[in-house]
């Protein structure tokens, strides 16, 4: 295990953890319910750590990515249903990320949102064409570390640490009306979905194959999942806590993604704002790349095409054409004029519906001793895996009713 590689891997995971949905729901959760939803972030982070570690381990041992194995395990029909559902979910998520990036550029440069969406899509396509996998992953992930300004802002905003720590304890705030209770439930489901997005597992396991992981990388996989995602989640919690301190008491609903940047602007002024917007820009742009590549990985793996960005783009032609088309399709969704926040909500809703289909085959495969040998799930991972699987099933059933009953968490 190379310590430099490991550190870079962990830092990349930290910088790449937050995406547009986490950004929006963390800020809104803090402003609406104070610190009471911190535990949902912590709880969901354990879930994504468990499944990411599993997918990385399967990739390292079987040397096959999740979607190859998923089709083998689920069969053609159910596999095709999973593929179509996850492509729709990832496409909407990708459109939300492109819209989010265009908004950041609109705030930073004052240029037209539509123009920025087009320019950014072209820039993202060029960056994937030019850069090999490791550079793509590192560049966006490491530049996303500008978001550490949110953690610094928490100190500068005189955070009430005891109350923040209290937010880690599972709770439902007292004295909520039925409407508010439903809204709290909707936020819980949305945060679980935003943190455990299916694209993260597809991208992570395919990345393991791109980097040619083998059984010797099992420890690197475990540390990257636990530390990278664990520390990344602290940034999301910092956004939530800053929002609870600054926006909640002022009755500000940070309903647009840029509002979160004010959390750093208030204590640090202009430079705080610029660092926050830059961090958000690279984190969200990185998520756009991840969602689009995750979609292309899934399609290529399902049909057995050559895939991967460790090859030159023309060496995996159908894969390359697929991610270019998917980027253009996501841009087309943005150009219809649909609001970024609506896209974020749809992305979260579709994702939670796909999550059980994504995680079940992974859980079965990683626990199969015939297939994984001594690297099969241990008792703790097995228990945690099934526990989180049933949690996402419950969340998937509750998602649509809660969305309609609360008008997307707006009460």
């Amino acid at each position: 295990m190379n310590p430099l590689e490991l550190t870079l891997g962990i830092m990349t995971a930290v910088g790449g953890f937050v995406d547009i949905s986490e950004l929006v729901f963390a800020a809104r959760a803090g402003s609406t319910f104070g610190f009471a939803l911190i535990w949902v972030f912590a709880f969901s982070t354990v879930g994504i750590v468990v499944f990411s570690e599993m997918s990385g381990r399967v990739a390292a041992v079987a040397k096959q990515p999740v979607f190859n194995l998923m089709r083998h395990r689920l069969g053609l029909e159910l596999g095709l249903v999973t593929l179509v559902a996850s492509v729709i979910s990832n496409l909407i998520t990708c459109a939300a990320e492109i819209g989010g990036v265009a908004l950041m550029l609109n705030y930073l440069l004052g240029l037209s949102y539509v123009l920025m969406a087009v320019a950014m899509t072209i820039a993202l396509i060029v960056s994937i064409w030019v850069l090999p996998f490791k550079w793509i992953e590192r560049a966006y992930g490491l530049l996303g570390l500008f978001m550490i300004v949110f953690a610094a802002a928490l100190f500068a905003n005189h955070a009430p640490w005891t109350r923040i720590a209290g937010g880690l304890v599972p709770q439902v705030p007292r004295g909520l009306t039925t409407k508010e209770m439903l809204s709290f439930g909707y936020f819980c489901v949305a945060i679980v979905s935003a943190v455990m997005f299916p694209y993260e597992v597809y991208f992570y396991s395919s990345g393991g194959i791109e980097e040619e992981w083998g059984p010797k990388d099992i420890l690197t996989n475990r540390l990257t999942s636990i530390l990278g995602m664990g520390l990344g989640s602290l940034l999301a919690i910092a956004i939530l806590a800053n929002s609870a301190i600054l926006f909640g008491p002022a009755n500000v609903d940070p309903a647009i993604p840029g509002t979160a940047a004010l959390e750093a602007a208030i204590p640090f002024g202009k430079w705080g704002l610029i660092l926050a917007l830059l961090g958000m820009f690279f984190a969200v742009a990185g998520a756009a790349v991840e969602t689009c590549l995750a979609n292309a990985y899934s399609i290529a793996q399902f049909f057995g095409w050559a895939w991967g960005r460790h090859k030159k783009p023309w060496e995996a032609p159908r894969f390359t054409l697929t991610w270019i088309i998917l980027f253009l399709a996501a841009l087309a969704i943005v150009l219809t004029g649909v609001d970024v926040m609506t896209l974020v909500e749809f992305a979260v809703l579709f994702s939670i519906l796909v999550l059980p289909l994504t995680y079940l085959p992974l859980l079965l495969l990683s626990g199969d001793r015939k297939f994984m040998g001594r690297y099969a799930n241990g008792a703790v991972t097995k228990w945690l895996g099934w526990f989180y699987f049933w949690i996402v099933c419950i969340a998937a059933v509750a998602a649509l009713p809660l969305y309609f009953l609360t008008s997307g968490g707006n009460g």
Partner: protein, 117 residues
């Protein structure tokens, strides 16, 4: 061989990825071709690859939709061309030799071959 041996082999083969002798993915085992007669053991003859092999595995409406979008190409991979069967099926020869890379090669012609690091 146990009574369920052959059936188990088929079920374990279906939907496995194919990797050619150059280490490139070149399809999925979409169906298998068996040879034999009633009352006698069946023998695996070839793997079938491509959307044409989906008929019988998908509902009719899905199959017509697929035929419209992906065609009904079908490539036969004789058993003798298989090196190993594990988490993937490894072939003894490059995919081109079996006609498994026709679409990849056609799409490759559409892409510019420069600018990537």
């Amino acid at each position: 061989m146990k009574p369920d041996g052959a059936i188990k082999l088929v079920s374990e083969l279906l939907d496995l990825p194919l990797i050619d002798s150059n280490g490139r993915y070149c399809g999925i085992v979409d169906d298998v071709e068996l040879k034999g007669q009633a009352g006698k053991p069946l023998r695996l003859e070839a793997l079938l690859v491509g959307p044409g092999a989906y008929s019988g595995r998908l509902p009719r409406w899905a199959m017509s939709l697929l035929r419209m979008t992906a065609g009904d190409r079908l490539t036969r991979v004789p058993l003798g061309q298989i090196r190993t069967i594990g988490a993937a099926v490894e072939l003894k020869v490059p995919g081109e030799k079996l006609g498994l890379r026709k679409t990849e090669d056609r799409v490759e012609g559409w892409l510019p071959k420069r600018g990537a690091l």
